[in-house]
């Protein structure tokens, strides 16, 4: 039965990792504007400015 304890531990850790990813995404501003990115992908070539990380110092 020990394996169940282990599995619970693993599943919770994994879920926490996902939660952290979500936190990062929200903090990085990815949820601020959910409309423009969908328009951006319509232009065939990426803007040359390769710096794609969202701004953080807002």
């Amino acid at each position: 039965m020990l394996v169940i304890f282990l599995l619970i531990f693993v599943s919770l850790t994994l879920a926490t990792v996902f939660l952290c990813c979500f936190f990062w995404a929200v903090k990085a501003g990815q949820f601020e504007d959910t409309c423009t990115p969908s328009m951006r992908i319509l232009s065939e070539e990426e803007p040359i400015s390769t710096n794609q990380t969202p701004e953080r110092n807002t």
């Binding site: 599943s11 501003g29 328009m39």
Partner: protein, 845 residues
């Protein structure tokens, strides 16, 4: 939320539609000779045929942008959508933006600066399509020194980073203007914008609650399915503790707003809905603690997390934001950021904030008078229609007093300011009490009124059942019953009723260009029983006088086709709005304009000229009579007129009247029965009889109303127990809009300035008011019915709980089930009501 397909144009869409049609007829080629669509902006090319690479352009501005993009290898812009550009308005001179380089102003405009890099955010109303986004995000290719630029489409915002040493702010703005994306720079821009509600916290709270809900559910399911029978008590205890641990952040972080709101409500002694929610949450967690620690059960952690998760989802749903609209603008958004001050070295653009009393200011055609001033030189013709409601431009002579906010039409004038901007006649309206106090708080909502009774009943039942079991000597069952009642009565379904029903309603209205500030406006709309209208710009079109020719009596005849062409040619020579109106009304594209000799324009008088050998005169009665031509005096009473005489013989007059918006008559026929209607106009009484017919007998019509009188009128109606809706458009309605229960600002185009209000209404919808009000009533009825449904569930739950036999399983099923019912009922019924009211988005334009 704007969809990507929402390509409504910043300019009136008709021209583009026409251009599109000609494109279709022309077999897809853009180089059709007649009315070819501009390759850049899609407007028909009229006068000069600018053709390059077999592409036509409507103006130099558009051609310039095309060449600029081509030079920089950015022609991809034109592949992203058809005619994606924005028509470039009259080019401004290079030094027009120089005032932006003033360090003090720059400090107030920049978001961020570290000496090397600056970042600034502009509101650019012209952004309208995918190509705009692409172009503005590739700005760095057009001007070295620009770094990353990013567009936020729903907000129509552009934020740009640029090298502080490399380029100046004036250069950046100049570039944007030259490619057609003029940023909105008005006086309000100097105030630091209030920190915009970011949704980050709300998202995180939902995330934490959802995370806990899902995980706890995984641990609870085995218990509900009877797993612990063969897996032993160790898991049960472990799962209980895990649930408690996972639910703790939900209780503390995700539900934080509910605790705060409940605390606030108790302190002000109002039983808002948050009070029973907080009680329920508290009961849930303490009961779970008790059960887990003493080994009595697995606790209610799953219900707690689920409850908070659902509540937060409801809250997110009700926050429909129309982000590109501002509902709280004051006069500062109406005034420009800069004015042209006359200094010793000539005109200079300076910030409005540095304008002082006694300064000389130059105002050109279409520009605003920034502060109350005196006309020094030039011929003033001031359009006050937006500011005071007067429909006719007013002529002013040197020495006359000019109120702030008027728009100069015609030639350049010089004025000298008499009062500072904030103390001017109109802007001082904002010092009134109505602006100081907050508008009727959101506390008195349907939900809170219902929950006041609800909370008292629930607490009553909880105490009674606890006492009942204690008196029978079963104290532990009494405690159980007490907490169970609080748990099961936690008004999750109740809390979701209004957000989902009214949120759906708000979305349905938004699709019809009726933008509500928040969902509570709908509740107030449903109670409206008196409607007050403004006239100019609200019931009548703000632009667009109707003009018709009326021959005088005594056998005078209508104008012949030739005569019409003569008058048209004469009127086309003048910039006076009346002349322009006549010229537009009479213009005939098939005839070449007639040649005029001996043309003369007498300011304040009229026009005269000799065409095809005939003397044509067009002007005021006094002017003609001074020349010895006697017109039919009967025609003077018809309002604003321009008289025509040909070869010294009076022929009749052009009569001007404001055109009512289409379908206004039908709309008033529907409104008349149910609501008390009034008209408050800043204009004179000339059209009283016309509006009396429209409003019906018994309606109150007041003319020559100032902004404070309008406000006072609304106040008086409210004191008489009326719920007042004010429909207006101008700055002079601001006080009344603020004071009324529901303030409706009418706009010709979304995105342009509108005074602070609860609803922003696209002008075509004024005729739909009855529909909108009816829909508001039916959606609040849906909310009431949802209350009924949640009450049924509560009654069932409470009877189980009062008996003291509530189990976590029942709780875990009952709560989501009731919430889901309310959610589906609310959304479904409101959608149906919208369809019935004819508000379904039938054909997206």
């Amino acid at each position: 939320m704007d969809s990507v397909l929402d390509k409504r144009l910043p300019e009136p869409g008709l021209t583009r539609a026409v251009a599109g049609l000609s494109r279709v007829l022309g077999g897809g080629s853009d180089t059709v000779e007649h009315a070819a669509a501009c390759y850049h902006c899609g407007e028909p090319c009229r006068e000069t045929q600018l053709v390059e690479d077999q592409k036509s352009f409507c103006c130099q501005g558009c051609l310039f942008v095309h060449d600029l993009l081509k030079e920089n290898g950015m022609e991809q812009f034109y592949g992203l959508s058809r005619h994606p550009g924005v028509k470039v308005k009259a080019p401004k001179r290079g030094n027009d933006w120089a005032y932006l380089d003033d360090p003090e102003i720059q400090n107030r405009l920049l978001d961020f600066s570290d000496g090397r890099t600056n970042r600034i955010t502009f509101h650019v109303p012209g952004i309208h399509c995918v190509a705009c986004v692409w172009l503005l995000e590739n700005l760095f290719r057009l001007l070295p020194g620009i770094g990353k630029s990013e567009v936020n489409f729903p907000r129509r915002e552009l934020s740009v980073r640029y090298e502080a040493q490399g380029i100046r702010l004036s250069q950046l703005v100049g570039l944007l203007v030259s490619i057609g994306y003029e940023p909105e720079l008005n006086y309000a821009r100097l105030d630091k914008p209030p920190a915009r509600a970011t949704h980050k916290r709300a998202w995180l709270q939902i995330g934490v609650a959802g995370f806990a809900f899902g995980n706890i559910m995984l641990f609870s399911l085995p218990a509900y399915l009877g797993m612990d029978k063969f897996s032993g008590p160790a898991f049960k205890t472990l799962f209980g503790y895990l649930g408690l641990v996972l639910a703790a952040p939900v209780l503390i972080y995700s539900a934080a707003d509910y605790w705060r709101a409940a605390g606030l409500a108790l302190r002000s002694r109002i039983l808002t809905l948050e009070v029973p929610i907080a009680l329920g949450l508290f009961a849930l967690y303490s009961r779970s603690l008790f059960e887990v620690i003493w080994g009595r059960g697995e606790g209610y952690a799953d219900s707690l997390a689920g409850l908070v998760f659902l509540l937060l989802c409801g809250r997110a749903f009700q926050q429909v934001t129309h982000e590109r609209l501002a509902f709280d603008r004051d006069y500062k958004s109406f005034f420009p950021l800069s004015i042209k001050r006359l200094e010793e070295r000539g005109e200079r653009n300076v910030a409005l904030s540095s304008l002082e009393v006694g300064d000389r200011v130059v105002v050109r055609n279409g520009e605003l008078i920034p502060a109350d001033s005196r006309l020094v030189s030039g011929c003033g013709l001031i359009d006050y229609s937006f500011v005071t409601g007067e429909s006719e431009p007013v002529e002013k002579n040197p020495g006359d007093y000019l109120y702030a906010g008027g728009q100069q039409i015609g030639s350049r004038i010089e004025i000298q300011t008499v009062k500072p901007v904030s103390q001017s006649y109109l802007t001082s309206l904002w010092n009134h009490d109505a602006f100081a106090k907050k508008k009727r708080e959101d506390l008195n909502t349907l939900t809170n009124r219902y929950s006041r009774r609800f909370t008292k009943i629930v607490i009553g039942i909880a105490i009674t059942s606890a006492l009942f079991w204690m008196l029978r000597g079963d104290a532990s069952r009494g405690f159980k019953a007490f907490t169970s009642v609080l748990i099961v009565a936690c008004p999750c379904a109740l809390a979701l009723a209004a957000p989902f029903a009214l949120g759906t309603a708000q979305r349905a209205l938004g699709k019809k260009q009726v933008y509500l500030k928040n969902i509570f406006v709908l509740e107030r709309l449903a109670e409206v029983n008196a409607i007050v209208f403004d006239k100019t710009g609200t019931l009548t079109c703000s632009q667009g006088l109707e003009v018709r020719f009326e021959p005088g009596r005594f056998g005078q005849q209508c104008l012949s086709t030739d005569e019409r062409a003569w008058v048209c040619a004469l009127a086309a020579q003048s910039t006076h709005p009346h002349s322009r109106q006549i010229a537009t009304a009479l213009s005939n594209p098939t005839k070449a304009p007639a040649e005029i000799r001996d043309f003369a324009e007498v300011p304040g008088g009229g026009l005269k000229g000799r065409i095809a050998g005939h003397l044509v005169q067009l002007g005021s009665r006094t002017w003609l009579e001074r020349l010895g031509i006697h017109v039919d005096p009967h025609q003077l009473s018809q309002g604003s007129t321009s008289f025509v005489a040909i070869d010294g013989k009076p022929r009749g007059a052009f009569v001007f009247s404001n055109a009512l918006r289409p379908q206004t008559e039908e709309a008033f026929a529907d409104l008349g029965g149910r609501y008390e209607l009034s008209l408050l106009s800043g204009d004179n009484e000339r059209e009283r009889s016309r509006f009396l017919a429209l409003f019906g007998k018994g309606a109150r019509l007041h003319f020559n109303q100032g902004p404070l009188e309008k406000l006072a009128f609304i106040q008086k109606l409210q004191e008489g127990g009326k719920r007042v809706m004010m429909v207006g458009d101008g700055l002079n309605d601001s006080g009344a809009l603020r004071q009324s229960d529901v303030g409706v600002a009418v706009v010709e185009r979304t995105g342009v300035f509108s005074p602070a209000s609860d609803i922003i209404l696209e002008a075509g919808n004024v005729a739909r008011l009855e529909q909108i009000l009816r829909f508001a009533r039916s959606s609040t009825r849906v909310v009431r019915a949802s209350f009924g449904i949640s009450a049924l569930y509560n009654a069932a739950g409470i009877s189980i709980a009062a008996a003291g036999i509530l189990s976590p399983l029942i709780c875990a099923v009952l709560m989501p089930l009731s919430s889901l019912t309310v959610l589906l009922f609310g959304c479904g019924m409101t959608t149906w009501a919208a369809k019935r009211a004819g508000l379904t988005p039938a054909t997206p334009s």
